[in-house]
């Protein structure tokens, strides 16, 4: 299946290559990768970092049923599951790869025949407006998606600009035609999630409105403006949760051809001339602040009706972004993996402002981004590890604007905290730590954020890390760790806070702010406070200094960890592996310990209880499908067996990334999983962002040219590259042997050639 799919993509986009002078990277992108099982990616149309992610949703599993969590909803974090037989419609906002969700705003669905305002069931799609589809009639490219809706034989195509989704529906039958505009629909929906929906029919082809939701983001509003390519003849709506008030307050009939529709769960429909089979095109712009802003966004980005031109521009934008690395890999499937990883890495954070710079701030007031692009969707517990470090190399300008957006968040935050996990002017507090500081530190240490801006950012980092009421932080500051009795995931928090504190100290050192550096360098050692020498694991501890009696390093639940057991989390001292290894008994004992992790069997009972981890994402007891262990394979570099790092990372690349819909072993997590791939495939990885160091592994590319924004290029060459030659004899930078297991940011930014000499046997050291 995977070879087949890769070929389809290669053939289908071949046409584009000819029209472009630059190599065609877009041909290698397969947006379907990760859409089966737990990748949680979406196949729809979007431009790099676009505000609009226009994508099919295949089902509508409620997040809560009778107030209880519905486990089925987890599969629908991105709205689409490859194995589903039907499509409910096309909505405009999707997270890529998250393990919890929201969005799915402004669903559009074309239908013919008798009007249906319920989606119907997947078993019997004709019972509602949803339609059967098959992958044989589906194509997904960067910024282009098409599918045949089989129920009514309608060809649905879509593309997008940053803020505008562009739909084209081609009808092959005659008969009454309808476009359903569903504001009830959402991802991770539940009774009470929609707090208000609003539709205005401005004229016979223009609609505006908004959808206000609660849920993960508690005060989210998505404003939209919609234009049809031709006038509709009639329209109407139904509120699927009508206000009891409106039951009392009867006025003249407002359900049909009345241009204002307000309710909690509005589904509107628009009827078009049935004698005609011309395509109906629809443009939907989003805005964070107003319907006026959304209308202006259409004017600014997609004033006309040239679908092909929008698609061409979108694919050119993708090619420019993907072209920041010119990679060569013999295996065409790996080319697909590489550029699809880049594609996934460049989906979020997403632009969050109108064309004129207005956006909604965390304080719920409107702001204007002055001199930068404002972004949202910061899945920082995931993305601080490799995605932002990848940006810091390949997209430093954009990464700086992301940091500026984070500083805006800080300024507007009543807590005076940088984001934890934020989206759409909301802090959702997801996961743990304050990993914004890692992202900012990495930019400061590498010299990409400087001057007063860097100093202000440092203040924000320090202030964030001193928020005593945040999630055990007061205790941590007082006694040096998060005590188990007051807080779940106490050990995970202690370990991650300690790394974050290191990151702050690194930035402070770079900026010559000794007081801050000292304060946080001291805190960075707090990981020692939860290490239990008697077991050799990190272990929950109570405020009185006693370790939790009942302890099993295989278990996660009730053990002071989150999304990982002690076996994995105990290795989380990215900023001082040497000290950790020493504490754990020295290099060789530690290497054996790591071997045990990769080779052990994690029983189902422990695995099943651990949130956000699936069997596919596990190698032995090592969990690649979730983030806490993403640095672990590189820890052999601190032992006498760096070759084990080389071997492991190549093995992980093979096992966890496939050019197939089920190609991702776990949630892509807004690009973190993909960024791991990219770094690793290029031959190095940022174990401790903010250190300025990148641990050398084993490149999977034959060669790659990173086109740096400073005008230089870094060429990576893997001499004697092959699937078997996974070991690195030696590494040379610009002809000079690299006498250590890492390279530095200045070395990368300096450009030149980084040469890996590959071998099939462990017969040398780099």
């Amino acid at each position: 299946m995977r070879n087949l799919l890769a070929s389809i993509v290669l053939i289908s986009i071949a046409a584009i290559a000819n029209s472009q002078s630059r190599p065609n990277y877009v041909q290698y992108v397969n947006p379907l990768i990760g859409t089966r099982k737990m990748g949680h990616t979406y196949p729809g149309a979007t431009v790099p970092f676009g505000s609009v992610q226009l994508s099919p949703d295949t089902d509508e599993e409620p997040f809560l049923i009778g107030g209880k969590y519905n486990k089925e909803t987890y599969r629908y974090c991105a709205g689409y599951q490859f194995d589903d037989p039907t499509i409910v419609g096309f909505s405009h906002t999707h997270f890529s790869g998250t393990g919890h969700s929201d969005l799915g705003d402004i669903l559009i669905m074309p239908t013919q025949g008798v009007l249906q305002l319920e989606p119907g069931s997947a078993d019997d799609p004709k019972s509602g407006f949803r339609s059967a589809f098959s992958h044989g009639n589906e194509r997904a490219e960067a910024d282009y998606y098409r599918v045949k809706l089989e129920d009514d034989d309608i060809l649905a195509e879509m593309t997008a600009t940053t803020r505008v989704g562009f739909h084209r529906y081609t009808f092959n039958r005659t008969g009454p035609r309808h476009i359903v505009l569903d504001l009830k629909h959402g991802i991770y929906d539940y009774d009470g999630k929609n707090v208000r929906t609003f539709v205005r029919v401005e004229n016979d082809r223009t609609i505006t409105g908004f959808r206000e939701t609660t849920g993960w983001a508690r005060t989210r509003t998505v404003y939209f403006a919609l234009q049809f390519s031709k006038p509709f003849e009639s329209y109407g709506y139904k509120d699927f949760d009508p206000s009891p008030y409106r039951g009392f307050w009867r006025k003249f009939d407002q359900s049909k051809n009345f241009p204002e529709m307000i309710g909690k769960q509005v589904r509107a429909y628009f009827d078009f001339d049935s004698g005609n089979k011309d395509p109906i095109e629809v443009k939907v712009a989003l805005s964070p602040v107003s319907t006026a802003g959304a209308l202006a966004n259409i004017k600014s980005e997609a004033p006309g009706w040239d679908f092909e031109a929008i698609k061409r521009a979108g694919q050119k934008a993708w090619n420019d972004e993907l072209g920041k690395i010119d990679a060569k890999i013999d295996d065409p499937n790996e080319m697909v993996n590489f550029y699809t990883a880049m594609y996934h890495a460049f989906l979020s954070p997403t632009v969050y402002m109108d064309a004129d710079g207005q956006y909604k701030g965390l304080d719920q007031n409107n702001h204007r981004a002055a001199g930068f692009t404002n972004y949202t969707t910061f899945s920082l517990w995931d993305t601080y590890r490799a995605l932002h470090p990848f940006f810091n190399i390949v997209q430093p300008r954009r990464n700086r604007d992301m940091i500026r957006s984070m500083i805006g968040h800080y300024d507007q935050s009543v807590h005076k905290m940088l984001p934890v996990w934020s989206h759409y002017a909301n802090e959702n507090w997801c996961m743990i730590g304050y990993h914004s500081v890692s992202v900012v530190s990495d930019a400061i240490v590498s010299g990409n954020l400087t001057g007063p801006e860097a100093n202000k950012a440092l203040d924000a980092m320090a202030q964030t890390a001193r928020t005593k009421y945040y999630d055990g932080l007061g205790d941590y500051m007082r006694i040096g760790y998060v005590p188990v009795e007051n807080n779940g995931s106490s050990v995970s928090k202690t370990l991650e806070y300690a790394y974050d504190d290191y990151a702050i100290a690194q930035a402070a050192k770079k900026l010559g702010r000794k007081d801050v550096a000292d304060e946080f360098a001291k805190r960075a050692g707090n990981w020692r406070n939860v290490f239990d020498p008697s077991t050799g694991f990190m272990r929950p501890k109570s405020a009185d200094g006693k370790f939790l009696a009942e302890f099993d390093p295989m278990k996660t639940e009730g053990q002071g960890f989150i999304e990982g057991n002690s076996w994995n989390y105990s290795l989380y001292v990215p900023h001082d592996p040497a000290a950790m290894i020493k504490m754990m008994g020295g290099k060789s004992k530690f290497a054996a310990h790591l071997d045990e992790l990769f080779n052990m069997h994690l029983p189902d009972e422990f695995f099943a209880e651990t949130e956000d981890i699936t069997r596919e994402g596990i190698i032995g007891g090592y969990v690649h499908g979730n983030e806490p262990s993403h640095h672990v394979a590189y820890l052999y570099n601190w032992t006498d067996a760096p070759w084990k790092t080389q071997e492991r990372v190549r093995m992980i690349l093979k096992h966890q990334y496939k050019a197939a819909p089920d190609g991702l072993g776990g949630n892509d997590d807004c690009g973190q999983m993909s960024a791991w791939y990219l770094f690793t495939a290029l031959g190095f990885y940022p174990v401790a962002p903010g250190s300025g160091e990148y641990q050398l592994g084993s490149p999977a590319v034959s060669s790659a040219v990173i086109r740096l924004e400073n005008g230089r290029t870094l060429r990576i060459e893997a001499v004697n590259q092959s699937d078997k030659n996974v070991y690195v004899d030696r590494v040379e930078l610009n002809g000079k042997r690299v006498g250590r297991t890492f390279i530095t940011y200045p070395e990368i930014a300096g450009g030149g050639t980084l040469k890996f000499f590959m071998s099939s046997a462990v017969d040398g050291r780099q």
Copy 2:
């Protein structure tokens, strides 16, 4: 009781008189008038046309119980009922005199002792944060309200600027002190009315937030900023309708001292040092657009903490407004009635924009009022009759800004309609007709709205009146009346549309727009289409031209009328009473018919079924307590017995307006009932706004000087005025006998002296 209360007011405000050079009119204002039974006024603090109406709410009757209308809620349209024994708290927005309701935003309540977050019951106020109070410990003045909260012996005082409510709470006991900030509370509340509430604790004395509601206004948001005069020590909240999502999504404890509170029904509390008895002062600013706007409004209007200065400025503003008419009436109770009527007339429409001019428009986008003050709360079915015509004489500049606000509404309306009944950026569609056109017409005909602005306004009027899908208007345009089978209240609508069309025609005539004048002059005759010569009444008619068979002119329900029966509504041809009288059998038959109306007995069965009408507001079968008949007493002027108008109006003044809490015979309806009083007490009344004519009645003042904005004054004198001398022998304007039953707008605006020669017997004609 009423004399006693009048005296209290007179004595209590005596002090103010001395400090002002102008006569003290504020002393005559008694905001408690209308707070008992059905006046639906509120006693709290507000400045003229102020955005903030800071007033006690005495109970919280839900609007719907189990989805059914709760009749008890009707008493609480303004939040306060005089006979209630307890106060729940002080909220910042109140309609004055409406018969349906909304608002009651941002309730504040001081308490001591154990914290209580439920209001408790009126029977046992100590069961919650509400408190017992008594009228002996209560004082209501223009822009000042005080009451002793007996449960905890707290003196509550309040005053306001346009956008800021200023509270002062004086504690007489020691012990834990709390301020409850209740965003759950509302007027006409029901399950589902609050869609979101939001509180941010900006620092230890500043709070911001908003309350989003549905209900009468379907997309209303009130933003606020609150400042305490001293820091609180701790705080917290409870969401009384917690999201099921939050039950799933457990994070660290955010219920106490966590500065962000989001939910559907948030009640927050703030704890103050208990050792101290210093007053706690609170300022609460409102904004239509943002918390940033609310904070700026505090800065702009009430930056300091001088309660007395704010109160002085507010009362001076009132005295300036009230001083626009210097009235003399011997009976001190009538002086209270007169100036309280002016007070009530000057409460709404209310200013609806930030200090910088920003406001939320009907399109839900933010706008900036350029060169005018934006208003909201247009209860036009009521206020077009006498309130706006009163403004057009006494407040033409402000009335013009109200019209500009209505034009803004039109511009932002997706229907391209002027407001029907609008408040807070919402059209609530209350009642019938499109009476904005009457208000605009009156201003155009009188020369107060001119040039391109007037022409644009005329376009808006005509466009409004051509909205076919609006409430039977398509049928009306097609066949000349609203047919009974498709529409409730068909006769009322036909009659009111016909008058409105007359108003449009008048404005068009004035502006020389013959086509529009002709179109609407023709439509203005449509009242004839529902007159049934066989009964002599207006009568429901079906589309095929047949009158409804079962017809009882005493009944309202199912009879094609709204808030009035055919006996009252049949007289509604204000723009052509002569033609109507002729149709009804001529002058003397008509006079007898009117006599019968005033003398008949309306059986309870008919009265009980008629919404918005109470026994107190009825004289015979004539309903003064609601609007449709407000012009009726003046119709004798078209017969040979104008003396009956004189007699009736004086009788109505006596019976329907009393200087007592139950002094209003019906809802004051945003000042319409009071405006009727004012016109009538001055001796003339606008039977048909837009005609430029004012029917002469019988003045109740001894004299009055209207200080016109054009710099002139109109002096009204009633020679030989007394309670018995209600008949008018003759009327002289500037010494010249007025040889007709009316005066004109140019005569009023021209100034001079209008002299009524009063008599106890009908021995002359004017």
